[in-house]
């Protein structure tokens, strides 16, 4: 049992928003109750159609996606996705995204009424939508606004999901902390582009998309480390985690937990395998608890 920002997690390995649907899709492959927790695909107030295809393209050791937050909106989420999550024994953390500050607050308010929801991850870092999204998360002032509004709207633990597309991650991290976030998660995807040299068009439906996967891991580890030295609230590390060793890198850099994203697509057993690999490392090194690793990076 791990406590993170007031959320009781089964273990420190969660699944990242947008890479695990609302959980159901992976129930075929393993017992979801073995996960540390589930972070849902971003939910918006109104249904979002999403971006035109192609929505994904592979790049060296990574992929660019431009899903555009496709989802059926809060109401449908509460009706169809939440009941499934309610049946699980692990905490459901709902990731929210809005076009305006008010939308974020409204989402937080309504989700707080659901006892299945154990925390809210605030996506202020999605690079794939025209309004809102990343725009909020690259500026400390708007970060404060959104997180502050969500803070007022809910008593649930609030996790601010930050964008790596900034000059100085410590500024948005501090902004999130000072406006009441209980934890920070990072990184979301890096804005990227790939061009088809035959058609001369983008290889995804919109011009740019978000780069994820092992390619960005070294950037994510660096940012987690920088953020962890700037704030006191816990950090959830995300970015290209494929093995237990990758996860441990994030712990050492200062993360208190990790989210597995793109790796789910490659190996449905990824989160559980990663957890087993972490435990094997702990056993081999006779470390009694993984929390001894948190921030144990030696300068």
């Amino acid at each position: 049992m791990v406590e993170l920002a007031g959320i009781k997690l089964n273990n420190p390995v969660l699944v990242a928003s947008g890479t695990f649907g609302y959980g159901k899709e992976y129930a075929d492959f393993f017992d979801l109750n073995k996960l540390g927790g589930i972070i849902t695909k971003s939910v918006t107030l109104m249904a979002k159609e999403g971006n035109p295809p192609p929505r994904i393209v592979e790049t060296p050791s990574g992929m660019i996606n431009s899903i555009g937050l496709q989802n059926e909106g809060l109401e449908a989420f509460l009706k169809t996705a939440l009941p499934f999550l309610a049946k699980l024994e692990i905490p459901a953390i709902v990731n929210i995204a809005g076009d305006t500050v008010d939308e974020y607050a409204e989402l937080a308010k309504q989700l707080s009424k659901e006892k299945t929801v154990k925390g809210i991850e605030v996506n202020i870092s999605c690079p794939n939508v025209k309004k809102g999204g990343m725009a909020f998360g690259i500026d400390p002032a708007t970060t404060k606004e959104v997180i502050g509004a969500v803070r007022k709207a809910t008593t649930l633990p609030v996790i601010a999901k930050l964008s790596p597309n900034v000059t100085d991650i410590t500024l948005t991290a501090k902004a999130a902390e000072s406006s009441g976030a209980n934890a920070i998660s990072l990184i979301n995807t890096v804005v990227a582009m790939a061009i088809d040299i035959e058609t001369r068009r983008s290889r995804i439906g919109r011009k740019t998309g978000g780069l994820s996967g092992p390619a960005i891991r070294p950037i994510a580890v660096r940012m987690v480390h920088e953020a962890s030295r700037a704030v006191k609230i816990p950090i959830i590390g995300i970015g290209g985690i494929v093995t237990g060793s990758d996860a441990i890198e994030f712990f050492l850099a200062g993360a208190s937990a990790v989210e597995v994203g793109t790796a789910n697509f490659v190996d449905t057993a990824a989160p559980l395998r990663i957890l087993a690999e972490i435990n094997a490392y702990l056993a081999k090194h006779e470390i009694s608890d993984y929390d001894e690793l948190i921030g144990a990076f030696k300068e």
Partner: protein, 264 residues
Amino acid sequence: MATQEQCQVLDQTQVGPRYFKLTLKSLYISTNAEPGQFVNVRVDSGTEPLLRRPISLHKINREDQTFELLYEVLGQGTELLSKVIIGSKLDVLGPLGSGFKFDPEKKIAILVGGGMGVAPLLPLAQQLKTLGGRAVYALAGARDKSCLLCETDFAELANEKVVATDDGSHGRRGYVSDLLLDLLNNTVEARHYPQTTIYACGPKGMLKAVAEIALQRQIDCQVSLEEKMACGVGACLGCAVMTTGGYKTVCKDGPVFNAREISW
């Protein structure tokens, strides 16, 4: 229900210039797979290429507990797949997606395959034969003779089989959609249209042409689509295709769709 399994490679045979047939062992997949479904194959244990590759089920041998894939080497992923050696294990996710549907009222089945599109039509032909009571027409098109696949297989399973090549190097010269028009004009008469289903798989342009022909004549038509995929299980929403009901996933809602549903 799908599984992620390390399947033993029983056979890998080159069947054309860049075409390969791969036979894999899996009780689960061979037992549960339906024609039109696919598997998502991990071609590399490292990170390059990162994602799995979707390949249709080409033969489903329930007795042997095996299944076959027929694929073309196009890029890095299928290149690696073609180097997989007999006796090794391959990480396979499947069976995935929603396959072809069968309506007992439809007594005529027209199978239209373009290029690699014939791959999922073979287990379909097999199934139709097993279901029985149907006239099955198999139409296959390809760039040239060397690209025409499974001709003899179809000859065995279909009541009639016609082939075309773009360059006329085998069968008729022209597109497979021409064959379809011919068939609909000459053999399957208009009064049969209500009892007919067209099953099509191939390049997008061909599918669009086939869908138009079918829709004009109000013939039931099922098309198997392709889209770049990440998860293959409906979780990432990466494989979206626009339908009359908004974006749907090719990997879960499809790959087989009613042609009427698709916003071409």
